[in-house]
């Protein structure tokens, strides 16, 4: 969802800060040609900007901190900038990072290239002009994820990783318990799911890969040819590939196209075939299911955490508040899926 604001609506001090940084990086004069505020996440502001740099015009997107931090595990802008650079260098389809704020800026930012395409989830799964893209998208999502998971980790900036001696799965449950403790709410579904999952930690082959951390429809640019770029890298970390693999299948990311298990656009078979064809390591079905369930639990907890931002007064917003009730969708899913697994075992 975007709202159009006139070019001069970009605050002057911010404009001057951006242009000075671009000139410092290029040695060329820079000027703002167009600016449009994009509806971004709740912790970051985004702008679509056209800059004249010397004789060229660059189409860019600005990502800038707003002050509020959504998660203790989120990357800062400088780290995200370095990560994007490493990912692009390894062949990942993502916007190239271009310029960044000087160290010590009050609100850090970076500018990245602006790629064409649609990112709004409900449009990606429904827009008539993306019908052909949806035919190939699940396979492309698998292929692109295999490329991400093959990015050499020794070339990455320092990003979160499981605590020494803990598997990625154990780390995920540890973090979920920490969120529950912060929420100070009791919910039998969370307690039951945490116990059930802890008793069934998946086998882990020891491979620590670059995990995008929020790989789903809504964070992907899609054009008529399919996947145009992977966005929103702030939750990247080192972990188990199955975490990324399963996240896009969480029901809420299907945007009501429930039968299309992968992001509301395609089938699991196409997705996993794409992953394997692009060199992805073998997929353990039990681990995949486990991470799918953890994904539902985490998203439910995150929804409650968003509601708390409103209730605690930090960010008054009826939208954030409403997410606390939306969590029931993921909680229902958790119970339903665990029940189906238990019935199958009997």
């Amino acid at each position: 969802m975007t709202e159009v604001i006139r070019a001069d609506a970009l605050p002057d001090p911010l404009r001057d800060e951006l242009l000075a940084a671009v000139t410092a990086a290029t040695g060329k004069p820079a000027a703002l040609a167009a600016a449009r505020r994009l509806a971004g996440g709740a912790s970051m502001e985004s702008w679509s900007l056209d800059l004249r740099v010397g004789d060229d015009t660059e189409a860019l997107v600005l990502r800038r901190d707003m002050g509020a931090n959504m998660s203790a595990y989120a990357l800062d802008r400088a780290t995200e900038f370095a990560l994007l650079r490493a990912a692009c260098a390894a062949g990942v389809k993502a916007p190239r990072p271009r310029y960044q704020s000087a160290p010590g800026a009050a609100k850090a930012w970076f500018l990245m290239e602006r790629l064409p395409g649609e990112s709004v989830g409900r449009k990606v799964v429904r827009a008539p002009d993306l019908a052909a893209a949806r035919e190939v998208l699940a396979r492309q999502l698998g292929e692109a994820l295999a490329v991400i998971h093959a990015v050499p980790v020794d070339g990455l900036p320092v990003i979160p990783a499981p605590t020494e001696g803990r598997s990625p799965a154990a780390e995920a449950l540890h973090q979920a318990r920490a969120v529950v403790a912060t929420l100070r709410l009791r919910n039998p579904v969370w307690t039951y799911a945490l116990r059930w999952l802890a008793q069934r930690l998946p086998a882990w082959d020891g491979a620590l890969v670059l995990v995008h951390g929020d790989y789903r429809v809504g964070n992907l640019l899609v054009d008529r040819a399919g996947l145009a770029g992977v966005l929103d890298w702030e939750f990247s970390h080192l972990g188990d590939r199955h975490e990324d693999l399963a996240w896009v299948t969480v029901r809420d990311w299907r945007f009501e196209q429930d039968a299309r298990v992968v992001g509301g656009v395609g089938s699991l078979d196409d997705y996993l075939a794409g992953y394997a064809a692009a060199g992805g390591r073998p997929v353990d079905r039990d681990a995949f299911v486990w991470w799918d369930l953890v994904g539902n639990l985490r998203w439910a907890l995150m929804c409650h955490a968003q509601a708390e931002r409103h209730l605690g007064g930090a960010d008054r917003s009826v939208e954030l508040l409403s997410l606390g009730r939306k969590a029931a969708e993921m909680e229902w899913e958790l119970v339903d899926r665990i029940d189906a697994i238990e019935k199958e075992l009997r």
Binding site: A39, T191, R195, D258, V318, R325, A328
Partner: protein, 126 residues
């Protein structure tokens, strides 16, 4: 008995107030909004009033049924905190107790969904 009702401060009822505000947003305010962001936020505001309305209209009945069903679970937990403690102690690790707990949690979440998004269950179960 006539069909007259007491007219204390509860009349019109909280439900009447919420429904009127929801109707006002839906029929008068939303059509007049052109800003996409404001429109989305107002849609959410309209929706949450619908949630509150559905919950209030069935609330006491729903809460009583849920509490009674929870007390009938193995270990007879008196409230959610007690139930959580029993879960952590392994009281529902067995097949039958686990199945009973999951049935209760299903009906509990379905009540929440009836208020939040009645279409969700129709979609995922249909």
């Amino acid at each position: 008995m006539s069909d007259e009702r007491d007219a204390y401060e509860q009349h019109p009822s909280a439900l009447d107030l919420i429904d009127a505000a929801r109707e006002h947003l839906a029929t008068r305010v939303l059509p007049a909004i052109t800003d996409p962001r404001l429109r989305f936020e107002t849609l959410v505001a309209t929706h949450v009033l619908g949630v509150a309305s559905r919950e209030l209209s069935r609330g006491p009945e729903m809460a009583a049924a849920t509490d009674a069903a929870r007390a009938a679970l193995p270990g007879a937990p008196a409230d959610d905190a007690a139930l959580c403690r029993l879960i952590e102690q392994g009281r529902y690790d067995g097949a039958e107790a686990g199945a009973a707990l999951r049935r209760w949690m299903q009906s509990r979440t379905e009540l929440s969904l009836f208020a939040w998004n009645p279409l969700f269950l129709m979609r995922v179960k249909g």
